[in-house]
């Protein structure tokens, strides 16, 4: 087990990771950007400290000049199973891979990306929290971490057709767009399906949902299992290419976007025959093309939560803000909004990890403080289903009330009533 973990850790260490491990000066600045440290003040949550098993393995087996250091007894001992297990909660419970620590790091080290690599070693050795193991079992059975079956999806689609009065296309060969959803959206907030149906109807898009590839959530990325992540991406790619779509729409889910947009081609070893668009990116394009003009604005005091994997680590900074400006008249930004915004506290699989619940709620408390500083916010707009779930759970645990809504829903609710433009 330990050997598999060490071998995988070393395999994952490319020149970028090596540069990070070689550059860290142990300044501890990263702690100040980590909400797990901020909410507990426990030094063990210092981001760079979480990398210790990888650092040891690298220094012993891969670092340049290790031969000379070995002569002088200056290389660390072999990583033990006990150490791997001791660090497991630090790697899975107290890191959402939000990447905020990189902003404050004077060396610019991508600690979040490195934690992702460390998780590969842990997943290979099956040293993984039970919650994520269960999600993996569900995915292998149904392709969905929450066990959402095609039958359940079709039932939700039917409800949305009844609610909207629109026909929602399913398994349409030759459609331009294939829409993916996250389990959380399908089961907990299916109205997002109806919202997209209304928007796409207005824009005149040719789109479809597939019963073969509807799930965007990629548990492989959360656990750190490259092979599983590749399998889940491949399933979407196969279906998208079978249907002949031009675009795959990644839903309002942070890590799902990173999994297919940025990691996807690297996971399966080739480029796609289609373009991946985040739903926010698509809505922004449709808005700028004049296909979904904005109507009456929501006049409540709204703020925007930046999902880490969509904004900071995904590159979509301006798009959600343009949509917010169009959709509401009293949009206020949090301190550090955009690239430096705080995580919800439950990304990177932390929300699926029951063991981390208490810690996650503490980390969410820091996020809530950030919102409270704005004073009198009526609702938070959150373009990520996982973040929404973490907000809802955290608000319940902290006995607080605050409305959370998806950005797609907000856009759908504030569409202009003028007639749709002809289909492109």
């Amino acid at each position: 087990m330990t050997n598999i973990a060490i071998t995988t850790l070393l395999d994952q260490t490319d020149s970028d990771i090596a540069a990070y491990l070689e550059a860290c000066v142990h300044c501890g600045e990263c702690a100040e950007a980590c909400q797990f440290y901020e909410s507990t003040r426990d030094p063990k949550y210092t981001p760079t400290f979480k990398l210790a098993p990888l650092v040891k393995a690298y220094k012993r087996h891969k670092a340049p000049l290790r031969g000379i250091k070995k002569i002088f007894g200056l290389v660390p001992d072999e990583v033990t199973e006990d150490e791997l297990r001791e660090w497991e909660p630090l790697i899975y419970d107290s890191c959402t891979m939000c990447g905020r620590c990189t902003l404050v790091c004077p060396m610019g080290i991508d600690i979040a990306g490195t934690i992702r690599k460390v998780r590969e070693g842990y997943a290979a050795a099956d040293i993984v929290p039970d919650g994520l193991k269960q999600a993996r079992v569900n995915v292998e059975k149904t392709s969905s971490p929450m066990g959402v079956t095609p039958k359940a999806l079709l039932a939700q689609i039917k409800h949305q057709e009844e609610d909207t009065g629109l026909k929602i296309p399913v398994n349409v060969q030759g459609a331009d767009y294939l829409a993916l959803f996250s389990s959380h959206e399908i089961m907990a907030s299916p109205e997002i399906i109806g919202a997209y149906a209304r928007i796409f109807e207005k824009a005149g898009l040719s789109w479809t949902i597939s019963t073969e590839a509807y799930e965007a959530t990629n548990v492989g990325v959360q656990i750190g299992s490259g092979p599983l992540a590749a399998k889940l991406v491949q399933r979407v790619v196969d279906e998208a290419e079978r249907l002949g779509v031009k675009y795959v729409i990644s839903p309002e889910c942070g890590h799902a976007y990173g999994a297919i947009r940025w990691a996807g081609p690297n996971l399966i070893g080739r480029t796609f025959d289609f373009e991946v668009l985040h739903i926010i990116e698509l809505l922004d394009r449709l808005r700028r093309d004049g296909l979904i003009p904005a109507g009456k604005k929501d006049d409540r005091k709204l703020t925007l939560h930046d999902p880490c994997q969509i904004v900071r680590r995904g590159g979509l900074l301006k798009e959600p803000r343009r949509l917010m400006d169009d959709a509401c008249s009293n949009f206020v930004e949090m301190p550090g909004a955009g690239i430096a915004n705080l995580c919800c506290g439950g990304g990177g699989g932390v929300s699926a990890n029951l063991r981390a619940e208490e810690l996650r709620t503490k980390a969410f408390g820091v996020k809530l403080d950030q919102i409270d500083k704005l004073g009198g916010v009526d609702a938070v707009v959150i373009p990520c289903a996982n973040c929404r779930g973490v907000f809802e759970d955290g608000l319940f645990d902290l006995d607080r009330e605050l409305e959370v809504i998806g950005l797609g829903e907000l856009v759908a609710e504030t569409l202009a009533d003028d007639p749709p433009k002809p289909a492109k």
Binding site: T13, A19, A23, H26, I68, L103, G315
Partner: protein
Amino acid sequence: MTFLDFVEGPMFYAAAAIFVTAGLWRIIGILRIGKKPDLAPARGSATAGWWKGNLRHFFPRGLFAERTWMHILGGYGFHLGLFVLLFFAAPHIAFIERFTGLSWPALPRWGFIIAAEIAFAGLIVLWVRRFSDPVMRQISDWDDHIGTWLTFLVMLTGCLALQESVVALRATHMLFVNIWLIYFPFSRLMHAFTVFLSRGATGASYGRKGMNP
């Protein structure tokens, strides 16, 4: 051969050779590990991101400054002070001229004193934090302390030798310089060079995504 001749002659050549060879070995060793090409279609330029990443992290983000101001002051004070001492102290320029023939204007004595005070203050702040701050204590190891102490001793002996009136002080300074040069490539002091690889790697990765963290 006097002790000064030795530390400024054979020992210095050996130390400088180790510094250059081992330093290059380490940098090339990191780069030789290699990485797979990124197949995801880029939204921005990785090359521009590499440069932006390197430049952006020279400037601390104001959002975090409230909690990291002491480290920022200590870090900037030490590094800027050391840079000025290293390249603008009159004896250093004379020493470099001896080997390369290159020369440039030196700092006046008062400038040296100010730069040295800032560098010492910065280094002491950084070192005190290593054992007084719980986070720093948790993550610091022997290499951090040795690197700090060696640098401190090089600076201290350099100040003592500033008058260039006592041969033994100059020889002591050169001895510590040589030890520092030998230790440098095997230690975390190499961050002076690996910083550009690290910032560049992150900058390039984010640059492809159209971001600049």
